[in-house]
């Protein structure tokens, strides 16, 4: 139902794509991938949520853990292709204060790289 569907590195940015309900399991799976890439020396991340149309606050809370980790190393967590309700949820939570969101991967890379 929920899974990580892709990981790639473009201009030094780690792009991770997800699919399905962004719940606790998917949040934890994402964090595991991020942790691994942080160990590999990366610190700028772009999460493509195009195929995750729905989120819960437990999944979103795990994103705050990732933000905390990245803050300490001056890295960044970014999002693209957000469904309107996910953008709204992130805004209500204040995540947008710590993360940039972009229309799509190209727009994100153009700005971040």
């Amino acid at each position: 139902m929920s899974s990580i569907t892709g990981k790639s590195i473009r201009d030094g940015i780690v792009i991770i794509s997800t699919e399905g309900y962004f719940n606790k399991d998917l949040g934890e799976a994402l964090k595991a991938v991020a942790d691994e890439e942080i160990k590999n020396g990366h610190k700028n991340f772009l999460i493509n949520l195009e195929n995750s149309k729905i989120v819960n606050s437990i999944g979103a809370s795990i994103l705050i853990e990732i933000i905390e980790d990245l803050q300490s190393m001056d890295g960044s967590l970014n999002f693209c292709n957000l469904a309107p309700i996910i953008a709204k949820t992130f805004k209500i939570m204040g995540l947008t204060k710590y993360c940039e969101t972009f229309e799509n991967e190209d727009a994100a890379i153009a700005k971040l790289a």
């Binding site: 729905i54 606050s57 437990i58 809370s61 309700i85 209500i92």
Partner: protein
């Protein structure tokens, strides 16, 4: 007085069962000609309400969800037979604090309040009933 058409759902506590509730609200919202935006907001609030009933009620008992359709609004009741809590005592979270806090969670109540037009908790040690309403007309 005519009774409002009501869809009722009883859900066992199983993984991702909150999605049954969101799919139900989607169809009900479509039937009521609510916008996709409002429908998505209802779904999101409902997910949080169900997760709370599943997680915090501290019971294994099924939860009940009522969708009450009227001309002006959709009212949803999420009912659990759990331990109850005092909603007025819950502090709303703040992102700056959460970034450094050990506990990152605690967003459900805030999201429900922001996404719905009216929210009310009735709760005692026999359980909790969350009543939340989305108006058809936008009044912002």
């Amino acid at each position: 007085m005519k009774k409002n058409p009501t869809v009722e759902l009883k859900l066992p506590i199983l993984k991702d069962m909150e999605l049954v509730a969101t799919h139900t609200s989607d169809v009900v919202a479509k039937h009521m000609n609510l916008s996709e935006e409002k429908s998505a907001e209802i779904s999101m609030a409902l997910i949080e309400a169900c997760i709370n009933a599943f997680e915090h009620s501290e019971t294994k008992e099924d939860i009940y969800i009522h969708f009450i359709i009227s001309d002006e609004n959709l009212t949803i009741k999420v009912i659990d037979k759990g331990v109850g809590f005092d909603a007025s005592a819950i502090e709303l979270p703040n992102i700056d604090q959460k970034i450094t806090d050990e506990r990152k969670r605690g967003w459900g109540l805030m999201l429900i309040k922001e996404l719905m037009d009216k929210v009310d908790y009735e709760s005692d040690n026999t359980g909790t009933t969350l009543t939340m309403t989305k108006n058809k007309k936008t009044d912002e």
